[in-house]
Symmetry: C2
Subunit: 486 residues, 2 copies
Amino acid sequence: MNFNVNSARNITLVMDFYELTMSYNYFKQGKKDEIVYFDMFYRKNPDDGGVVIAAGVQQLIEAIQNMHFSDGDIDYLRGLGVFDEAFFDYLRNFKFTGSIWAVPEGTPVFPYEPLVTVKAPIIEAQMIETFLLVTINHQSLIATKTRRIVQEAKGRPVMEFGARRAQGYDAATYGARAAYIGGAAGTATVSAGKIFNIPVLGTMAHSFVQSFDNEYDAFKAYAEIYPDNCILLVDTYDTLKSGVPNAIEVAEQVLEPMGKRLAGIRIDSGDIAYLTKKARAMLDVAGLTDCKISISNSLDEYLIRSVLEQGAQIDSFGVGENMITSKSAPVFGGVYKMAAVERDGKIIPKIKISENTEKITNPGYKKVYRLIEKETNKAIADLITFADEIIDPDDDLTIYSQLDKWLNKTLPAGEFKFYELQKEVFKDGKCVYPEFTLDEIREYKKKQEELLWDEVFRLEYPHKYYVDLSRKLIDYKLKMLEEKRG
Amino acid sequence: MNFNVNSARNITLVMDFYELTMSYNYFKQGKKDEIVYFDMFYRKNPDDGGVVIAAGVQQLIEAIQNMHFSDGDIDYLRGLGVFDEAFFDYLRNFKFTGSIWAVPEGTPVFPYEPLVTVKAPIIEAQMIETFLLVTINHQSLIATKTRRIVQEAKGRPVMEFGARRAQGYDAATYGARAAYIGGAAGTATVSAGKIFNIPVLGTMAHSFVQSFDNEYDAFKAYAEIYPDNCILLVDTYDTLKSGVPNAIEVAEQVLEPMGKRLAGIRIDSGDIAYLTKKARAMLDVAGLTDCKISISNSLDEYLIRSVLEQGAQIDSFGVGENMITSKSAPVFGGVYKMAAVERDGKIIPKIKISENTEKITNPGYKKVYRLIEKETNKAIADLITFADEIIDPDDDLTIYSQLDKWLNKTLPAGEFKFYELQKEVFKDGKCVYPEFTLDEIREYKKKQEELLWDEVFRLEYPHKYYVDLSRKLIDYKLKMLEEKRG
C-alpha cells in the first residue's frame, strides 16, 4: 500500500501544465524568486448548505514534503520540447521554501475566507497550486457531505460504504478519511482503515447468500464463523418471507446453543420504513429485541430524515455513493488566487476583477478571525483583515460586508473575543504543524461546531453566517476597484 | 510517480471489508475453491443518455497482476482480531488464478449486458470485486461524459482541464485517461500526459497576469518566451477593453517583428457568445484572422451546444469540473453479481431477486453478442445468451426483452451478422490480452460507434438500444423466478 505519500508516493505531476509554462516563464524572466501571496478559498457552500468542514491539510503537507521531480519526470518534460536544460536543473533541485497557513482540519468554514494562504517565491507558489486544490477541495467536499448525512441520522452510527462508486482509488481511500472527519462512524474500505486507523466494518454481500444452496445454510455458515458479531443480510430473496425468518431461525438454532445473540440484520433494498417496522416486530416477537437493524440502500441526508420521520426502525446506516462522491454536489469549487506580490520588501495587494462580482477577490496578505460573543459563547461572524492589522477587544469593532460598505455591524467593546482561524503549517519550507490523529480532528471539529448556532447547520435555507472585512480592507478593495474600472 | 500500478502501486486493500469477512468464511468452510461466475454490469446510462463508453480495463489488468497482501497489510488485518493465521498464510500467497472476459475499452455498451465476466474460485472472485468496480465504474463514467461533451463541440477540440476539481489524485490522472478515450483532444494534467502519453496543453493563469505591473507587460513576457505558440488569457481585468486590445498590441509589437503570429486568446469568464463575437471582430480587424479563440468557463455539453447555436466564435474548449467529475451524474452504478456456481463440474445458474424488478439479475455463465444488420451495417441489438449457445446466422433468430417474453423480435436468416462483445483478458490467472495505446483505443471506439445509429447518441431522449436475451436464457430466468417466488 503506497497511499501514504510520506513513504512512497510523489504526486508532484498532478499539476496543470500551465503551472510549468508559467514557471518556466518566471524562470526565464528572472522573476521566479519574487515573493507572492496566494489565498485558497471557495465561493459557495455545496448543496446550498450553511457551512463547510475543512479537510485535507495533512495530505497537503505530505504532498509538499514529498514534492520533487524525478529523472523520469524530467525526461518526460524534456520530450515536450518546450523547456531548456537550465530549467530542468532547477526542477531537479526543487524544494518548497515558502510559508503556509491553513485552517485546521475539522474547522467549520465559510465562503470567501482563506482556508489556505501561501507566501512563497512565485515559481513555488504556482507549482503547488493544482495538488493543493485537489487535496483540499476533495476532502472538504466529502467531510461536508458526510456531516449533513450524519446530522440527519440523529445519533445513529453512519458507516461509509462507497468505495465501489468512488471516482478512483484515492477517492475511495481519502474519501473515507474525509468522511470519518465529517462524522462517519467508520468505513468499509480496508485501505482507509489501515492507513488512517479508521474502524472498518463489513459482513456479507448477496453473493455470499447465493453461493449456498439456500439462505438458511448461508446464515448458519456465517453465524458459525462470526458468532460474536453476526449481522445477516436478509434481502437476497425476500426480506420478510425468507430473510428475517431465516435470521431468527439461525439465532435460535445456531447462536443460542452457543450462548450467543444475533447482533443484527441488514436490509439493502425495498421500502425501508415498511420493511424495518415489520422486521423489528418479527425480531421482537422472537425475543431478539437486542438485534440491531442496519440499512444501506442509496441513502442520503434527505432519505434518512424522511424514513426516520416515518418511524422506520433503524439502528445504523451504511451510506455509499451519495457520500463518497457527494453525488448531489460533487464539486467543491475551491480556487487559488493571487492576493499580493512583494516588491522591494513591500507588500503590494493584487486584485482579480471580474464581470461576475462574486468572482472579485479580496486583495492583500490577510488574516481571518472568528469573532465570538462573550455572553453566549457563540460565533458572531468571521473577519478578514490585512495581516498587520490588530484587533483591539477593548474598542468597538465595525465589520463590513464583502462588497457593500454600507452593510456593516458594530460589536461593542468588551462584548466579544476572537481567535485566528488559520495556523502556521509551513515556515520557510519547514513543516511546523503537528500531525493530528483523526480522532483528535473529530474532537476539534465537535468543539468548533459548538461555537456556531444550530441554524447554520440546517439542511434547507440555513442561517447565512457572515464573513466580513475590516474597515481598512474594504476601503483598500473599493479603491482598487475604482482605479481598475475607472 | 507511482501511478503506474505495474511498477509500484498495490491497490489490493481498496477492498470492502466484507470481501474479507466472506473470504474468511469460505476459507473456514472449506469452500474457497468452488468455481463461481460473476458479471459486472450496470442498469442505467448516466445523464439519461443512450450509451456508455466502456473504459478502465487496462487498469483492472494491472490491479490484478499486482494484487498481493504485504506483510504490513497482514499485520493490520491481524490487529483486527477477526481472522486466523492459516488465513494469513493463504493471503500471503494469494494469486488470482481465474479467467476474465471484458468488453474492450472504447466499446459503446448498454444497460444489463456484462461488461466484465469473472470465472474464478469464489474467494478470488470476491476479493477482486471492489477494485474491479472502482476501476471500471470511474473510467467508464468519465469516458461517457466526455463523449457527450465532445459531441456537442462538433469537431472543435475539447481539452480536459479539471484536475483541481477532481475527487483526488487518481481521479485527476485516470480521469484524464478516460476523458481522452471519450474523445478529449488532450489534458492539462501532467501526470496523465506522462503516464498515458496524452497531449498536454496549458498556458497561463490569471495570477501570471497579476504578477506583472500591467497586462501588456505580462502578455509581452509570455510572447517573448513562447513566440511559436502564444495563447493569451484575456479576462483578468476586462476582456474587451483591456485583454483583447493588449493581446493585439503584443501581436503587432512583439510577435510580428519576430515573424510570429498570435496563436490564440483564452476567455475564462463572462458572456461567452457576446465576448467571443466581439473579440473575433476585433482580432479580424487587426488582421489576426488566424488567431484562435479558446473558451473555458464551467462548460458542459448543454452550454457548449447553446453558445454554438448563438453563433459564438469559438475554436476550442477547455472543460473542467463538469467533465472530470461528470458533475451532473457523478456515479456510474456498475454492480458485480454472482451469476452461477460450479458443482461437480456442472454450472448452476444463480439469480438475485428483488422487489425492484430492474434489480433482478440474468442467471448463468453468459456471452454477449452485437447483432449487425447486413444491409445497413448498423447494430440491431445486443444479445445475451448462455455461454454454450451457438448462434446460427443461417437460421431465423428470435430475441427477447429482459423480462417480458412477449416483447420479442425475429431477425431473418441471412440478414444479420454478429460478433462477441467481450474478449478474454485473463485465462487461468494469466493475462492474455494485449496492452493497447490510447490512440488505438480511440480508433477502436470510432469504428464501434459507426456501427450504431446516430439517434443512440442524442443527448435528450436517445433511441433506446435493445439488449435482449436468447430464448433459452429468458425461459430459464422466468422458470427460476417462478420457483423462487412460488
